[in-house]
Subunit: 346 residues, 2 copies
């Protein structure tokens, strides 16, 4: 297990542990992605899931932003939908549509047929991608693994594609509650095995993305999302630090803070002060630059990042965006974001 050997730059892990740091660490959600011209060049040659499923490609894509910017963590290139794929749901990535499932899961009988896979087999390619990436990283910075929250995965399984409000997914939960819980539990069990495998292969932390948690009321969030995220945290926290990020989940921050998660990610609607007040003094926070604000001029980005660090404070804080980086962000603007942190002085 590579986890016992600390990387040369372990600012990210120090922040997770609440240690005093010279400056906060920085990485960007979806940094291994579409805003990089070298990624788009690869995309023309291999389709989306081929890139996820080919360890050499996934490792190479993971390294792309690391070679360009002085980032303090790498995040494995993959997709949250590899988990339901491994469970037998044949997600495709369609041009101009995004994730697509030809036969969405909308009945109790369909849910009951879903089997929990042996992740070492069906998701072995992810373990291999981690092995490859760690070789390329040469222990310079930590590698983060991730998974979608069970609720967010359910959203795609039921809806069959992206959606503004995932009303079909919600309808399924509210009308076929038992089946929904059965599906959520199957996704949870698979995700726990999956993240444990990632930890065994040497990721330094795992992040859970609850991208669509904020579609739910606080009560429904507790029932259909949080309950399952909490299971994952409890199963993983002794093995590897867990970071939990819920977009639009401002109301659940106090719960996240006492969950055993090492850090809590917030989106850009949450002020640093509200975030800190919600999670208390001890928990590490991560976020929350509006990804669309990377359209601003580099000099303005720099000022906004400095102000963000001033408000969050340098310790127990990981600089990040409030959601994934957008495809049309100029590379120099992303660079300005990272540089503003690296050059930060109290």
């Amino acid at each position: 297990m590579a986890i016992s050997t600390l990387p040369h730059n372990h600012l990210y892990l120090q922040a997770l542990r609440g240690e005093t740091v010279s400056r906060p660490p920085v990485w960007m959600m979806r940094q291994a992605g579409r805003f990089l011209p070298e990624f788009r060049a690869l995309r023309d040659r291999y389709d989306f899931f081929t890139r996820c499923q080919t360890p050499e490609l996934a490792a190479e894509i993971t390294m792309m932003p690391i070679r360009r910017f002085p980032l303090d963590a790498a995040i494995l290139f993959s997709d949250i939908l590899v988990v339901p794929q491994a469970m037998g749901m044949d997600f495709e990535m369609r041009d101009g549509v995004g994730p697509w499932l030809e036969h969405p899961v909308r009945s109790a009988s369909r849910v009951s047929e879903i089997e929990i896979p042996v992740v070492e087999e069906s998701l072995g390619y992810v373990a291999k991608a981690i092995d490859h990436t760690l070789e390329l990283l040469e222990n310079r910075i930590p590698l983060i693994g991730f998974a979608g929250s069970p609720w967010t995965i359910l959203c795609y399984c039921v809806e069959g594609k992206g959606s503004k409000s995932f009303d079909l997914a919600k309808k399924f939960c509210f009308t076929e509650s038992d089946a929904a819980h059965q599906l959520l539990q199957k996704i949870t069990d698979t995700t726990i095995s999956y993240l444990k495998m990632k930890a065994r292969h040497g990721v330094s932390a795992v992040q859970i993305f609850d991208s669509w948690g904020g579609m739910l009321s606080p009560e429904d969030y507790q029932e259909f999302s949080w309950k399952y995220i909490q299971q994952i945290i409890l199963a993983l926290q002794e093995i590897v630090p867990v970071v939990v990020f819920g977009k639009g989940c401002w109301y659940a921050l106090p719960k996240m803070a006492t969950s055993g998660a090492a850090a809590v990610g917030v989106d850009w609607t949450v002020s640093p002060e509200f975030a800190r007040q919600s999670v208390g003094k001890e928990v590490c926070l991560q976020g929350n630059f509006d990804p669309a604000r990377l359209h601003s001029r580099p000099e303005d980005i720099q000022k906004m990042v400095q102000e963000m660090i001033r408000r969050f404070g340098k310790d127990r804080y990981i600089v990040n965006l409030g959601h994934g980086i957008l495809p049309n962000i100029p590379v120099e603007n992303a660079e300005a974001f990272v540089q503003a942190v690296v050059e930060w002085e109290e």
Copy 2:
């Protein structure tokens, strides 16, 4: 002006004024809409904007939910995009796409060409629809008029269609800030004239829908959305009560509370306790049943509505959904929602 004659049932206006009521009033956002079979029948004969622009049709659609359910307020059938239409932007409603603008507004020169219309001419059909509706309502319940927030209108003008995150609209604001402010001010000026005209024709209250305010950080919300909503409230508040609703704008509730608005609407992510704490004791609240929760069984809806009233309290509270009613909600479920309020007893 019909406004001086109180309707027979003025629970809604009593709640807005903070008076003690026997039970809270109830209406549903988008109640004059697609979940009603009689609306769908009309839809097959007239396209969307024909329905908005034909006073008899708009009045008839406004009355549809009133004839079915014991609602405490009617809301004029219309669309927030009639305002940019009147400003020369030729929005269409496309099947399977929604709002569509062939040539989105994405340059300063295009913004400078936009003229503020004489609303009595270009939106005279709305005034006529109000006149017709008031005749049909026979003063039984109040009629609400509405407009989109300038930011929400800008989102559609720049994006040219609906979007999950309105990144193009945000990019325009962040890179062409002067032009964006010019456009927002033009929309604001038009909206003020438009809502004043509605008040002159006898609506009892106006509601501002900031459907996409929650896409912005608190700072950007202040700059690109709230500043303009505040202008509208200040221009209208002495003439007619103003209700402000911002989806995802939980962080702006304290500002809304001291704006001069008679009521503040909240979505379902905001707990009644958080909402009350944010706005203080005096301001009327409106909301916030998750529209997707109307998929639950009628008996469960009834229980959830009772619990919601218990938590919000019966006074200074208007029962509503947290956003518009969904097209596929069974009529009997909407009925259960309304009946639960009408039959409510302390």
